[in-house]
Symmetry: C2
């Protein structure tokens, strides 16, 4: 990208951070064709927190909205939640999540992340999983950061049809369709 | 059941323990219409270990057979394994496995038990999960002992179709169909 004036650059930066809140300073610098130092100064001027701070802020706001389960019961970090509609969570794959033998992440971590996120979306006092259809597309390894995006695609009475797609940095690794069942509406 | 002679009773006991190795002395006593004390004495005479011992013995034998993953990576206790065919595992639902809010077991524990059991059946150096279709039939609570039975129903090249059915003491609570993919055959 060609160099742009400061004001335009800061506009672009604001827009980027809004659209893709998980970009690091390095990635932002590359996208805007400027140095990492410039990005840091721009962030300071614009009052944009660093990546870790942005995630924490989103997480706090998201966690306060969860209704059907305790937010601590979400596997991974809940970083965005529009109750009754959609949500995003982040799971870092650590040493203890892989099979001793193959060093590949145990499939049920991806399932747990997606399943608990699907549950968190439900705008009801209580909900459980009814059905799950899932597909593992690519093996996942230690160090990968998995971003799961969930969306309620249909509601029929107390049944919620939720689709979840999980990506690592480069591609989709997992997808799931859930039917969740709520109860306890007064 | 009417009272029977000692020899017949001991035959029945041996048969029961063989068919249903998870029955407690109390349950055996009820089935054979005798006192718990009688069952204990009969077990002693016949050299049948108590329930805990029977499970431990089965578990040791089963765990030595696992090939595609480390036996420690099986969720729950692997208590029977016929490599390439079928297997059984036992999972006790404890306090830390339920949602704080609803006190219902988190669905991914049933998934993990079934999924890792399905993986343990595969007679290959390595295997991963490709697809899973699961159904939650009844909510599960603290204290329940879940027995998962898995069976390979079809093999196509390096794809294994595995069905798992999970019961608590009284009914089926969960079932799953997996397609597992093996590799690393030499």
């Amino acid at each position: 990208m060609a160099r742009v004036k400061k004001k335009e650059r800061q506009q672009l930066l604001l827009q980027q951070v809004k659209e893709k809140p998980f970009l690091t300073d390095e990635e932002l610098a590359q996208k805007l064709g400027v140095s990492v130092q410039t990005i840091r100064l721009d962030r300071l001027e614009l009052g944009i927190p660093e990546l870790r701070g942005r995630i924490r802020k989103m997480a706090e706001s998201a966690q306060n909205k969860v209704k059907s389960i305790e937010s601590g019961d979400v596997v991974g970090e809940l970083i965005d939640l529009e109750l009754g509609h959609s949500g995003i969570s982040l799971l870092r794959i650590t040493d203890d999540m892989v099979f001793a033998k193959t060093k590949i992440a145990k499939g049920y971590y991806m399932f747990s992340q997606a399943n608990s996120l699907a549950l968190a979306l439900i705008d009801a006092p209580m909900a459980v999983t009814g059905v799950a259809n899932v597909k593992y597309k690519v093996p996942v390894h230690v160090g990968e950061k998995l971003i799961a995006k969930a969306e309620i695609v249909k509601v029929r009475g107390n049944k919620y049809f939720v689709w979840v797609k999980t990506r690592n940095d480069t591609q989709e690794v997992f997808r799931a369709k859930f039917i969740m069942v709520s109860w306890g509406e007064e």
